[in-house]
Subunit: 350 residues, 3 copies
């Protein structure tokens, strides 16, 4: 089976077919094993990839820029302040400038693709970030890559899967515990959504644990339920931080996220509520109750709140491998969507 | 005829000979047709090109950085805040730091060339930006490229010509309407000057339309008049936005610019005056009266003020092609001035 | 003798052996003579070098980025604001964020090495900058290169030596005058320390001149004394700006630095004191009393305070050559530590 993603936007893994997801993972794995191999290092020779950061980022910026370099191309770093774009709020123009139509059509002539990162702190309403990506995608033929928006984070999701596979082999039938954690960071949904979507898509059982009131958006949970149902795997919701760590859990993803009323109550109230629930933390004692559970997290870690130092720096932690995978999965995405590298799928399982 | 521009500064097209202009355009055209051809992609291999932005820019930064990449080199992005340069105002030192002499002599050792962008908002008096470029050029042997200053914008001018040629062939004898437009952006002269200078230089008839009081600097108009006179072409000034669109017009360039008293009255007063003249706008109805006129603009567009959406997004608009040309003309400039690529001129007309 | 520095951190030249220093200088010299030679231009092909700037810089940023380019790699520019790092003050967390452990372990997976620049203005106590470098070095296997911290500046020291050798040949037995200069810049010790350490290490006589009260940190002076003693060369301290310029002086390094009580009294008081001592300046008249003395300085120059224009722009000045050497010495460091290029030492003298 030959998979071709030339010209395709990568907004969320749920919008890819399972074979497409597997092709990206297979290529990423080859690229990790042959990191500076000439077969890959000319794929984007002399091409320009644009990275447009509405929100700053350590891993995302460095790994995408390195990915472009390792494919023979060059990544340009863009910020809104250098762009002079028109800004509207509720349909009213609040800053004169260029329309996305005009900017995007020009960028399309210069670049082989563009990544965009826009989190909840840069938008007024949940979903506006994701909508902005789709607005760029509308006007550009070159692929738009989601470098994390307010809803999804496909590169992180692919890297999570790659890391879990590296450490425990086939994932079908394995169990992932996604648990809320306390902390003062009022974190976005994107990495959590993406992990739940792609893990359930590939046949994993999902345990979702969070305090009452911290429900994730119902439309995303509906997709996760449907993925599980189609795979015949289980989907459970638990509201107790201890009970969450059951003996069948293979992977633990402990992460803070804000409540559904975040955009109404604001950051300060959200944080006041979230820091108080100190029992929601991943500890070594809890990890011991799982099935040799491994700890994953998209980083940056909020140590002492999302997870103890003992777990984070211990042998159960695969977070650095997953962070490294960002490079490889992003190279795979760029190679397939921008250079049009086709991938012959070797296996439909994994 | 072999044209060689090795080591030459590119400050304004008026300071180049017509064969030199034609050589740049010819090379840019070849580069557009063979964008990633190996014959071009090693010209600046491993060389560093510096881009010094006193003012931010979308097209200029991305297109120059991409140009360096496509020639095998690397462009570095510099801003004044990272430079620790000495600042003087009226001869008085207002910020301690390095002199341009010292900075330029060092940059000369690292780089194959340097682009500078400095608009009217970064200087106290009209012409100071252009003077700063010439000060750098004085101390550096490597070529200085004007990436837009308060007077000129040679890369834009070359790209305008290239776009007009692509859509209507030979330009000699064709008519360009350069018309002022209303709006709240109090725009600089550089793109307007450059277009008038290079269009008249290459034998086009010029119609210049603007409201009374919006005269362009007399010394630049004198050069345009002289260019027309030497080519036997016409030069007219019109003060009526309707009359401007005559049946012989092949191209329409509609753009806001500030009045000659801008540095005295300030931005707020300039804008208050300019937004009121709403009849100065390029519309489809007016375009229909021209000779299948095409719309050009250096972008970013001020839609609804300089031009209607109907014209801007319609089939008469060649603005995206012109924006793309920025890449090609800049590659041609860099190849000729920095890599010393000689060009055998194929035609002296165009 | 084959010198191999693969994987080694470069924090201060004093921590290298003399043969290691000579190997770097020998390679830098070859790289200067064969700047774009293919033997060097693939050493870091497709590799990512990270430049982390707590303090901005002209020469350092441009020369390191160019060095990476000329070795076939790519340098990424990072600033603290883009990093979301945890910040502590006196052990108290003042900004939530990622630990250096977590950040460094991830960067290690992406990059072939990292340069860090952190001067006294970014830290609360003398030495904190240097300690931060060593903290990164603790968690990363890839080499950490000191791009100037609050104590040392190895790339500058190597470039100084290279420049002096280019102009006067062997340095053993030659005399360097390092003299304090007045001015309003309250400058750091790093370049001064490094020059004193490496010059004395390589057998030069040291004359150190400064006004009473401007002692350099005693632990660094002790190292310089020891270096001189081991080489049988002289070390003198003078407190008179005139007497400093003796007839045996081959090189004059005139530079402002702040007093030992700087962190206590603050910048304003330091400057008030330092600007008053106008007799501490390098002049042509004083240079004439030396042994055809050459002027060196790490730049940026404080003209009219550290040195007169006559000397700075005159034939005795080798500052531009030294600035250029930054490129070559940094390429040598990167080639040896990151690409693991071994160097066969041709001479143990120089």
């Amino acid at each position: 089976m030959l998979i071709n993603l030339k010209g395709k936007d990568i907004i969320c893994t749920q919008e890819l077919s399972v074979p497409e997801i597997r092709a990206l993972l297979q290529l990423a794995d080859q690229m990790k094993k042959n990191r500076y191999n000439p077969q890959f290092s000319s794929l984007l020779k002399d091409r320009t990839f644009l990275m447009f950061f509405y929100n700053p980022s350590l891993r995302t910026r460095i790994s995408f820029e390195a990915a472009a370099t390792e494919l023979g191309g060059h990544a340009q770093f863009l910020e809104p302040k250098t762009m002079r774009l028109k800004k509207t709020r509720g349909g009213i123009e609040v800053q004169a400038g260029e329309t996305i139509e005009d900017a995007a059509k020009v960028l399309d002539r210069y670049a082989c693709g563009m990544g965009i990162r826009i989190l909840e702190t840069s938008v007024d309403n949940y979903g506006d970030g994701n909508a902005l990506l789709r607005e760029y995608a509308r006007w550009m033929e070159a692929p738009i890559i989601n470098m994390a928006d307010d809803k999804y984070h496909p590169c992180q999701g692919l890297s999570d899967i790659m890391g879990m596979q590296q450490h425990k082999g086939k994932l079908r039938g394995r169990t992932l515990l996604m648990t809320w954690a306390h902390g003062a960071l009022a974190r976005s949904y994107c990495s959590v959504h993406e992990n739940l979507l792609i893990s359930s898509r590939l046949g994993m059982n999902i345990r979702l644990a969070y305090p009452r009131g911290y429900d994730l958006p119902p439309e995303e949970i509906a997709k996760v339920r449907k993925n599980c149902s189609e795979n015949g795997s289980s989907f459970d919701i638990i509201h107790d931080p201890d009970e969450a760590y059951s003996s069948d859990v293979d992977f633990v993803y402990s992460r803070n996220w804000f409540g559904p009323d975040f955009y109404q109550i604001g950051k300060d109230k959200e944080i006041a509520r979230a820091v108080a629930m100190t029992d929601w933390i991943c500890t070594e004692e809890r990890m011991k109750r799982t099935c040799n559970g491994l700890f994953l997290h998209p980083m940056p870690l909020d140590r002492g709140k999302e997870v103890t130092d003992e777990v984070a720096s211990g042998t159960r932690s695969i977070i650095i491998d997953i962070a490294e995978n960002r490079l490889h999965t992003q190279k795979a995405i760029m190679a397939m969507t921008m250079a049009g590298l086709p991938v012959k799928l070797e296996t439909t399982e994994g």
